[in-house]
């Protein structure tokens, strides 16, 4: 099928397949899935600028479907998501400025690439360690619960920060927390997302759980709710710059809608620690993809 906006010919079933895979991951883990869709689209012959913009566009649509499904399941804290969006959008803009500054120094690919790999490996190792510990706790202590977090020190310390204004987040089971902490988490995710060129889902999800103390299922749903707005904002800015092929995004979205529904429903079949254990593989895959890209760009001697 010809896509007149990008001027490339791609089998729509391939795009639907990418959409489905990314939708499934998004619905289950609350991530955008750009780290997987991007390389596959590029491999299929989509120009790089269109890869970034089109990916964001289809991510917006997919997240609407998945977030709505999670909302039905009671997994979305709308108040938390709305507050975090503010911090995220400011953070994305700061991240974009960091990119501009790094461009002037040169060697941007390696600086960002290595930073990205380090962050992804830390997230992957930490989440795997914590979730295995939590699963063992459930087994040894014979706990009949779906949610146990083995690392709660940080979220407990964060709750002791009492900088006005304090907000309550009943949807996440948080009685009182400083608004600045919530905005800070959004800002940090936004900076990382903006400077690393990713949606930030697999950075935000662990931060919601380990820093704010949000239950895993709610973290997944709220993350998706937040992605609707942050990816929607990204779609608009990229579309104005001519980086979005909406026809391609619409085709991908049809596959993503099915995957997102299935992924969201599947969360109901797994306990929080197990979802986190599966999740820990994602950043590892992301890190491997970046390592491959960096190696392939190295000059041969």
């Amino acid at each position: 099928m010809d896509f007149p906006i990008t001027g490339v010919t791609i089998n729509p079933l391939f795009l639907i397949g990418i959409g489905f895979m990314v939708g499934l991951l998004g619905g289950f883990f609350g991530v955008g899935g750009g780290f997987l869709a991007g390389p596959l689209m590029f491999w299929a012959g989509v120009p790089m600028n269109f890869v970034v913009g089109t990916d964001l566009a289809h991510m917006t649509g997919k997240s609407i479907v998945a977030a709505k499904r999670h909302r039905t399941l009671g997994h979305v804290d709308v108040k938390l998501g709305a507050l975090m969006v503010v911090g995220t959008i400011i953070g994305v803009e700061i991240g974009a400025q960091i990119i501009e500054a790094l461009k002037k120094t040169g060697n941007i690919e390696h600086v960002i690439g290595i930073t990205y790999i380090v962050i992804l490996l830390i997230i992957s190792a930490f989440t795997a360690w914590e979730s295995i510990k939590a699963i063992r706790m459930i087994r040894t202590e014979k706990l009949d619960v779906s949610e146990v977090v083995a690392f709660t020190n940080l979220s407990k310390r964060v709750r002791t920060i009492r900088i006005w204004p304090m907000v309550s987040l009943p949807g996440s089971g948080i009685a009182e927390i400083s608004l600045w902490v919530v905005l800070g988490v959004g800002l940090l995710t936004g900076i990382l997302a903006g400077s690393l060129g990713v949606g930030g889902g697999f950075i935000r999800m662990p931060l919601l759980i380990y820093v704010l103390g949000v239950p895993t299922h709610v973290a997944v749903g709220t993350d998706l709710f937040e992605i609707v707005f942050s990816a929607g904002y990204g779609t608009l800015t990229h579309a104005v710059k001519g980086n979005v092929d909406v026809l391609m995004a619409l085709v991908m979205q049809t596959g993503a809608a099915v995957g997102a529904q299935i992924g969201a429903m599947a969360t109901g079949y797994f306990a929080g620690p197990r979802i986190r254990l599966f999740f820990s593989v994602l950043p590892l895959v992301g890190a491997i993809l970046v390592i491959i890209r960096l190696i392939s760009e190295m000059p041969s001697f």
């Binding site: 997240s63 979005v244 979205q253 049809t254």
Partner: protein, 81 residues
């Protein structure tokens, strides 16, 4: 295979089948009709194109969510979640 996984698989297959039929209709009707006008808009007016992009994505997202929810309730799949 445990019952809950069988249910998950059944939900997936039913949705996949219905979506396959809808997709064929979608490709022939929607994309053929929208392709040329959107391509022209992309080259002539980026701001209107950006707004149209976001609107189409949101409308399709809401529509697909509605279709899936409708299917789930009509086929009685929600009772098995």
């Amino acid at each position: 295979m445990q019952t809950k996984y069988k249910i998950l698989l059944r939900n997936f297959l039913v949705e996949l089948l219905v979506y396959a039929i809808l997709l064929v209709i979608y490709f022939w009707v929607v994309l053929n009709a929208l392709g040329q006008p959107l391509s022209q808009l992309f080259h002539l007016n980026p701001i209107v194109y950006a707004i149209a992009t976001l609107l189409l994505i949101v409308v399709q997202g809401v529509f697909l969510e509605w279709v899936t929810s409708f299917l789930i309730s009509r086929l009685g799949l929600e009772k098995m979640e």
